[in-house]
């Protein structure tokens, strides 16, 4: 590599090129060179597709004919199927945000507790599911939560005196499957985020709180929570966005069409309409509506948690 470098360098020698090159090496130009990959990818892989998504959402795209149809795609979006998809997705978002913020927080605090033992082992064990893909995880969930009475989840229900369930056919159980799958996969990762934040809380603070006679709740509110609040904000934001993007957790259980649309998500609806039914304009319009929903909810969430106040 070094040889290659030195031979390559020579031809650049003198001449007007040299000045240009010098400029490239200057402190002024360097940051722009550094960020240029982002700028390029922003323009070509984001701004352009985004503009054409907006453009497409006003079109009807058919083989051999593309026509502008005004707002008609957007008028069509607000139909019962979309509401169903949005409802499923929203329920999923709420459940995953709560479960994947509160539980990891509690677990991390315990794992970080000075009386805890084997913490490293438990941390690793809970993290392992994160390494599986949704497809792989979903495959095994389907087997565990099989419809037959002999599948293990139903055997357990049977054991505790409940009747077996057809997990993939009920709205409630279907949602349970998706949320469980997501929670199972992300729990370990989110615990790590909290653990990382908890490293910053010095024991002195707890001791000081002890001396002041603070109870457990007061210690949590005044010492622990301020330290992990940024993680809470970060995780709720990420969970909201990922929740609204959800597709695979549904795909593994029902592929692209589920009974009574119990597993239909907004992105699944985009896939169904835009790709499977080849109505790209409509698919794009659903996407734009989804974006607006996400932006509004994220803005509310960030405002409520006060994230705008600090940082840049």
């Amino acid at each position: 590599m070094q040889n290659f470098l030195s031979t390559e360098k020579k031809p650049i020698g003198p001449g007007p090129q040299k000045n240009r090159l010098k400029f490239l090496y200057s402190k002024k130009a360097a940051p722009y060179i550094f960020v240029s990959p982002f700028i390029i990818s922003f323009l070509f892989l984001f701004l352009y597709p985004f503009a054409s998504a907006v453009n497409m959402s006003f079109q009807r795209v058919l083989p051999g004919q593309v026509e502008y149809v005004g707002l008609s795609n957007f008028e069509r979006v607000f139909n019962p199927t979309f509401y169903q998809a949005l409802q499923n997705t929203s329920v999923y978002v709420i459940l995953t945000v709560v479960i994947l913020t509160v539980l990891p927080m509690i677990f991390a605090i315990f794992l970080n507790h000075k009386l805890m033992k084997y913490s490293t082992f438990f941390r690793a064990a809970i993290f392992i599911p994160a390494l599986t893909s949704v497809i792989v995880a979903g495959t095994i969930f389907r087997m565990i939560f099989g419809d037959s009475d002999g599948a293990i989840a139903n055997q357990i229900l049977n054991l505790i005196g409940l009747s077996p369930l057809e997990w993939r056919y009920g709205a409630g159980t279907g949602m349970f499957l998706m949320v469980t799958l997501a929670s199972w996969r992300w729990m370990g990762v989110n615990i790590l985020y909290f653990l990382a934040a908890l490293q910053n809380v010095s024991n002195d603070l707890y001791e000081a709180a002890d001396i002041d006679g603070a109870n457990v709740w007061q210690k949590f509110r005044n010492v622990t929570f301020p330290a992990i609040k940024p993680v809470v904000i970060f995780l709720t934001t990420i969970s909201i966005i990922n929740g609204f993007r959800m597709f695979e957790e549904s795909f593994v259980f029902w592929e692209t069409s589920s009974p009574g649309n119990i597993g239909l998500t907004v992105v699944g609806y985009i896939y169904q309409e835009g790709i499977q039914r080849n109505d790209m304009g409509f698919g794009a319009a659903i996407g734009i509506v989804l974006l607006i929903v996400i932006l509004i909810i994220s803005a509310i969430q960030l405002y409520l948690t006060g994230a705008f106040k600090k940082d840049d």
Binding site: S26, A30, P31, Y32, F34, V35, P37, F38, S41, L45, F46, P49, A53, M56, H113, L115, M116, K117, A125, I126, I128, P129, A130, L131, T132, S133, I135, A137, T139, I140, I144, F145, S148, G150, I152, N154, Q155, W184, L195, A196, Q199, I233, F234, I241, F247, V252, E255, V267, I270, Y271, G274, I275, M280, G283, A284, G287, L290, L291, I294, D312
Partner: protein, 282 residues
Amino acid sequence: MKEKTSQGKLFTTLLVVLFSIVAFLALFPVISLVVASLSPASDLMRFGLSAELFLSSLEFENFEAIFSASGAQYWQWYVNSLIISGVLIVLSLFFSSMVGYALALYDFKGKRFIFLLVLLILMIPFEILMLPLFQMMIAFQLVDSYLAVMLPLIVAPIAVFFFRQYAVGLPKELMESGRVDGCTEYGIFFKIMAPLMLPSFAAMAILQGLTSWNNFLWPLLVLRSNDMFTLPVGLATLLTPYGNNYQLLFTGSVLSIVPIIILFLFFQRFFIAGLTSGGVKG
């Protein structure tokens, strides 16, 4: 005082019991998958996974199948996934670290604006851009190529964000002394600063590796031939009721986790350190 220690012991025991249960729940599906891969596959599809299976004698037929000729397709998917993820990890770490570094440690016009753009993209689901991007791939005749799968992930905003958060904490004086030593700005980054960002590189290698290895919807769109599929896309095709390749499904799933575990073990000691800076300041 004595009472307090015994109370503490009780508390410890309770915690250990609680976490044993949690860890069992976390590991159970993984164990089930291994058991499933050692059981007759079509029975599994017919009757689901039963408790008895865990106790029954296990057989290695499925693994024999995957290592024989009928598994050739599977290994092609494996190779595809390895290539795509490998190249992506390298490229995305390379580009994203540069961007994050510049955003953190240089003062230049448009810096705040660019950082805002990074955050904005972070907020916008990729799925919205999916259809136009797909049309672009058709227009450039990239459909069914590795490049098409990789392009949208090469500069990952989440990685840029993390690198930026990490680099903010680095001492700027080191850059100055690098300049005094006659390093170019790029030399400073690669020789002096990037090595300091190692923990974040490790964390991002794991995160980007996971993302790419498990990526599904986009490859599903842009890949069309069986021999170009990545593992998740290929495995998903085995889930359809119109084939009888279930043998490959379970063994294939088990084996697909191996590289990601290796990656994790390799980088994990930096993982928490890498996450700390990124997440906490978010």
